[in-house]
Amino acid sequence: MSKTLFDKVWDTHVVRKIEGGPDVLFIDRHLIHEVTSPVAFLGLKSRGIKVLYPKRTFATADHNTPTINQHLPVQDPLSANQLKALESNSNEYGISYWGLGHQKNGIVHVVGPEYGITQPGATIVCGDSHTSTHGAFGAIAFGIGTSEVEMVLATQCIMQEKPKKMRININGQLGKGVTPKDVALFIISQLSTSGATGYFVEYAGEIFENMTMEGRMTVCNLSIEMGARGGMIAPDQTTFDYVKGREFSPKGESWNKALAYYQSLKSDSDAIFDIEYSYDGASIEPMITYGTNPGMGMGISHSIPNANDVEGGAASYAKSLNYMGFNEGESMMGKPVDYVFIGSCTNGRIEDFRAFTSIVKGKKKADHVTAWLVPGSHIVEAQIKEEGLLDILNEAGFTLRQPGCSACLAMNDDKIPAGKYAVSTSNRNFEGRQGPGSRTMLASPLVAAAAAITGVVTDPRTLI
């Protein structure tokens, strides 16, 4: 029987099917961080059980770490305590731990791929919904809750009902100034924030084939924002070139064997999806969100839709616009911007900083804008310096912070103040997501750069 890419990877990992229930799914790689793991370890302790395969789990600290002065002790006692718990739990159970100050420390979904932990055909989970990022490699990767983190530590398995399958096909050429982030925000705006709930998505077509791994990671990262458990892209030469030679990638004869397997990972030509959508790449504009969920996005030249033209309840829509201080029918162009954030597991990779720099080069940051530039890892940080981007950024009035999740979820001190507007390259514009009362407009690094220079929402195509 013909199979989709998703079927092939899933079926290979099913230990047992439970009648009238979920599948027992074997997990190849497990990533943990300080926020969603401590209670899982407490559970193990209270049951008196060990971690079954400690070498399949990797720990990094990222969610509530500071992004300045990382060499100093963490000031917030609760954050410090959580970091200490991750370190002591990792040490106690023999798990690799990349804490603050460690060369490999960084955002879990940035460092996983960088060190070759992420591989095609693997099953990967983490107590973080943006685990979907790793699907860019043709892996099945999704976020889990803390009870499930405990399950994976204890048994390397979780219980999951097999999701339905969706394919999103986009062909054609992307226009000037349109990035992978725009492609993802466009898809979410079409399907809504819940339109893919219950599905696992495969992205297919020229637009994705022509993307770099960084771009594919941005797209797959945002799969959860339309409710999908995850998204994946069939591995190809771009994938193999990225994976080869990384620290945890297969080597020598194992690489040849792995490569042969990776090459088999694509949907059969007659595979059936439960639902398919197709779009024309040329129709996608630079995007920006105007509301309080990622589905409330539009082309930057458009006007904020009227409640009658959107699905869902008018009351919830009005609540959302009211929170943002926006009105139906308004243009977003020229809206004031107080903060700009570039970073996160969505857009904290080298390509994102290259894009940002391409716009700000030779210009100056608007005086009233506070800009936080946060690389996803030390590798990204080093690349920014090596490629000369830092000099250009400094010249334009920007400085670089240290790696971490930062203002994406504002668990550390990087909080947007109440009422202030941020153009953010992160993934969620929920109420208060970037700090209590903060107002977020999600966009690409190019749109963020244009806002940082002009101090208002600006179409980046006018600056290219």
């Binding site: 969603t36 919904s129 048994t155 504002a410 208060g432």
Partner: protein, 198 residues
């Protein structure tokens, strides 16, 4: 961790007719810093429930003494966004044992099932009926019958069945969790692991 058994729950309900309630609203990220599962109920819906000066917001339903009970009735697409199980813990810790919605986000739903909060997905029409019944009388009782898989508005007798896998139902009725199951098939898991292609 094993949890309370769930059988038949009869309770008044708290209505929250807002769509796309994300887990950042249920429990904001700044309250995720604990290393133990304690105290999350205090911060359930923190920023909708309290002003910045920590005084209660009088227009929020949890601060309205008319409404109480062990059942939370939410709008469509309840629990979207972050996978933080802390959201389900906050719901439980506050005192809810069941969340009703016409549509749930996947991860939140799984998290609830894993800690003993029953997510009951009803039709949009039935959700509307519940909201109307509570609006008419805040003391309206709802009965959630897990063994029979139905939910009933006791004042009107309106009833609807709901889906749950027989495996999960069995777990909830008996207070078992997935780790209990997985621990019992460990040998099978180890054998499977030894035969993986890569």
């Amino acid at each position: 961790m094993a949890y309370d058994k769930f059988n038949i729950l009869k309770s008044t309900a708290v209505p929250l007719a807002i769509e796309n309630v994300d887990t950042d609203q249920i429990i904001p990220a700044r309250f995720l810093k604990a290393t133990e599962r304690v105290g999350f109920g205090d911060n359930l819906f923190r920023d909708w429930r309290y002003n910045p000066d920590h005084t209660p917001k009088s227009d929020f339903v949890l601060n309205n003494s008319l409404y109480s009970g062990k059942i939370l009735v939410g709008g469509k697409n309840f629990g979207s966004g972050s996978s933080r199980e802390h959201a389900a813990w906050a719901v439980y810790d506050y005192g809810f044992r069941c969340v009703v919605s016409s549509f749930f986000a996947d991860i939140f739903k799984n998290n609830c099932l894993n800690i003993g909060v029953l997510p009951v997905q009803v039709s949009a029409d039935f959700a509307e009926k519940i909201f109307r019944a509570i609006e008419a009388d805040p003391k309206t009782e709802i009965e959630v019958n897990l063994p029979e898989q139905h939910i009933c508005i006791l004042s009107t007798g309106q009833k609807e069945t709901f889906d749950i896998s027989s495996y999960k139902k069995d777990n909830m009725v008996n207070g078992f969790d997935d780790i209990d199951y997985l621990q019992n098939i460990k040998t099978e898991i180890e054998e499977f692991a030894s035969q993986l292609p890569l």
